[in-house]
């Protein structure tokens, strides 16, 4: 079964093109890694899958539907640097936000939501920190709070932006354990990852990205292909240079 389908996905941020004509299909029930160098558009692709960025061309379907239609079946975990961790909330408050998607305007979280948040906290080993303030957390703990919030959403498709970036060893263990657990439950998990060397042992499927789609497929195939072609890195620099020039011109014409 196909969980995610991208067709000719192209995204630009102002002057800069972030993704260019990406076409791929990602199977359901797998642990999928999106890999590529810095600025390759990994996060952009993930954000596009949740409908957070406007595509300038192409389309994305989740479970055969538009992303906006299946929000409740999708859980998104942003990079932790994107928020202000000095915000006056407790750990539990944040994890509870995972349930907000189901609550209407004015509705308060009910007992079941509290229990769900509690369970999610236990899964990431933060149950003793439930009442702590965000400003008191270490980087790894912040990451686990975000992970717990994603788990509290109880989705079918999990999209995680760099959950393993810059975390301590204990948190890395937790994240990997959670990923494993999600796979066991038959969920689809897409993770943005920056480290090609650890892909083989941890993921089933890989999307190799560098502005363009370089390769997409089961890990063994793609990694050999990547090695054969040497497609990863330097040689594609040309392409991104050109893309910048092109988009700059096009943007200048369109938006001034």
């Amino acid at each position: 079964m196909i969980a995610i389908e991208c067709r000719d996905v192209t995204v630009q941020y102002g002057h800069r093109v972030a993704l260019w004509g990406v076409t791929c299909q990602l199977p359901a029930g797998r642990l999928i890694a999106i890999v590529g160098p810095n600025g390759a558009g990994k996060s952009t692709l993930l954000r596009a899958m949740v409908g957070l960025v406007r595509l300038s061309r192409g389309e994305i379907r989740l479970f055969g539907q538009a992303p906006e239609k299946v929000r409740r079946r999708v859980s998104y975990m942003p990079q932790r640097e994107t928020v202000d961790w000095d915000f006056p909330l407790t750990v539990f408050d944040v994890v509870l936000m995972g349930c907000y998607g189901e609550l209407r305007l004015g509705a308060r979280p009910r007992r079941e939501h509290y229990e769900r948040a509690q369970r999610a906290l236990e899964l990431v080993g933060m149950e003793h920190h439930a009442q702590r303030l965000l400003s008191e957390l270490s980087g790894g703990q912040q990451q686990r709070v975000f992970l717990a919030r994603a788990l509290a959403q109880q989705a079918e498709l999990y999209l995680m932006d760099e959950p393993l970036a810059g975390v301590d060893a204990a948190t890395e263990q937790v994240v990997l354990h959670v990923l494993e657990e999600l796979r066991r439950q038959g969920k689809t998990v897409v993770v943005v990852h920056h480290d090609l060397s650890t892909i083989a042992e941890r993921f089933d499927w890989v999307v190799l990205l560098n502005l363009r789609l370089v390769a997409c497929g089961a890990v063994p195939e793609v990694l050999t292909m990547a090695n054969l072609h040497g497609a990863y890195g330097g040689r594609l620099q040309m392409l991104s240079d050109v893309a910048q020039v092109l988009e700059q011109r096009r943007q200048r014409l369109r938006h001034g």
């Binding site: 929000r71 008191e136 270490s138």
Partner: protein
């Protein structure tokens, strides 16, 4: 009795401002509140000229139109012409306010407002105009600000979790279908409404002070959102109370004094915190590290 009416009106407005200001402070958009409070002026004056009265509805419509125009202009400057947000905000704010003052002075005879009044209001005149609603007689200003406070209170009560969500993590909020843009527009709309009412009663400067002061002070004093809302309300009360006391003791415009107290207590709080923290600051980075030692292994 007049004193009671004046104080009650000021307190009601201050509470509404403090509630809204808290969310603006968390989103770091307090200056947008400042800008809006200035930018609605031409709309209000034009509505005055058109309707010839102080009816609230035309004023709100005029202010809404002006606020909308200002917002559009801001977006245009920022996205089309790549002007830095701060500069765009400053430019739009001052130009709109200039237009308002221009209209006020040009049509001075026909408008029951004057330029100074727009700046620092006429709280003392509030009790002069009594209106009876359902058999209860109270100043018109108090009625309008009470309606406003009720509106703001209801909004915050209903949308508390959305506001918290959108302010803390807009990306995540958008991913679960809560548009950050729409909620920030709602917040701006309410701010504009508060401004319109306040402009007539207490003046632009006091709106800014009441939006900024209590919220900023509460942000310093508290560490959780519900407490922050509560403390900002208390600080709003104390600003009005102490401000009134000072105005009574030393004379001068009440709105001016309230603004002084609202801004002043933040400065005092910062000072106190610095003094208290100086010896203890060495321990602070520790708190975060300790957290890691407690980290649990997955099970």
């Amino acid at each position: 009795m007049d004193v009671v009416w004046t104080l009650a009106t000021a307190v009601t407005l201050a509470l509404a401002c403090a509630l809204l200001g808290s969310f603006l402070a968390l989103r770091r958009t307090l200056l947008l509140g400042d800008a809006l409070s200035h930018a609605v002026l031409p709309g209000v004056v034009l509505a005055f000229l058109w309707s010839g009265s102080r009816e609230l509805l035309p004023m709100l419509l005029g202010a809404g139109a002006a606020a909308l125009m200002a917002t559009l202009l801001l977006e245009l400057l920022q996205w089309r012409f790549r002007v830095h947000p701060d500069a765009a905000l400053g430019a739009v704010l001052a130009t709109f306010f200039a237009a308002g003052i221009f209209l006020l002075s040009r049509f001075a005879g026909q408008v029951d407002l004057d330029a100074e009044c727009v700046l620092y209001g006429e709280l003392a005149y509030v009790p002069l105009e009594l209106v009876s609603v359902m058999g209860v007689e109270a100043p018109r200003g108090l009625w309008t600000s009470a309606v406003l406070l009720a509106g703001v209170g209801l909004f915050v009560w209903l949308a508390y979790k959305e506001l918290a969500l959108v302010s803390f993590d807009p990306t995540f909020a958008a991913s679960i279908g809560r548009s950050p843009r729409r909620w920030s527009l709602a917040l701006m709309g309410l701010t504009a409404a508060v401004t319109v009412v306040a402009l007539e009663l207490v003046g632009a400067i006091l709106v800014v002070a009441l939006l900024v002061g209590p919220a900023a002070g509460a942000r310093l004093l508290t560490r959780r959102l519900p407490q922050m809302l509560l403390v900002s309300a208390l600080l709003a009360l104390s600003s009005v109370g102490v401000g009134y006391g000072l105005a009574w003791a030393f004379d001068g415009a009440l709105a001016g004094w309230i603004a002084v107290v609202a801004g002043g207590h933040v400065v005092v709080l910062v000072l106190l915190r610095r003094l208290r923290k100086a010896p203890a600051s060495a321990q602070e980075p520790f708190a975060a590290e300790q957290g890691d030692d407690h980290a649990q292994q997955p099970r």
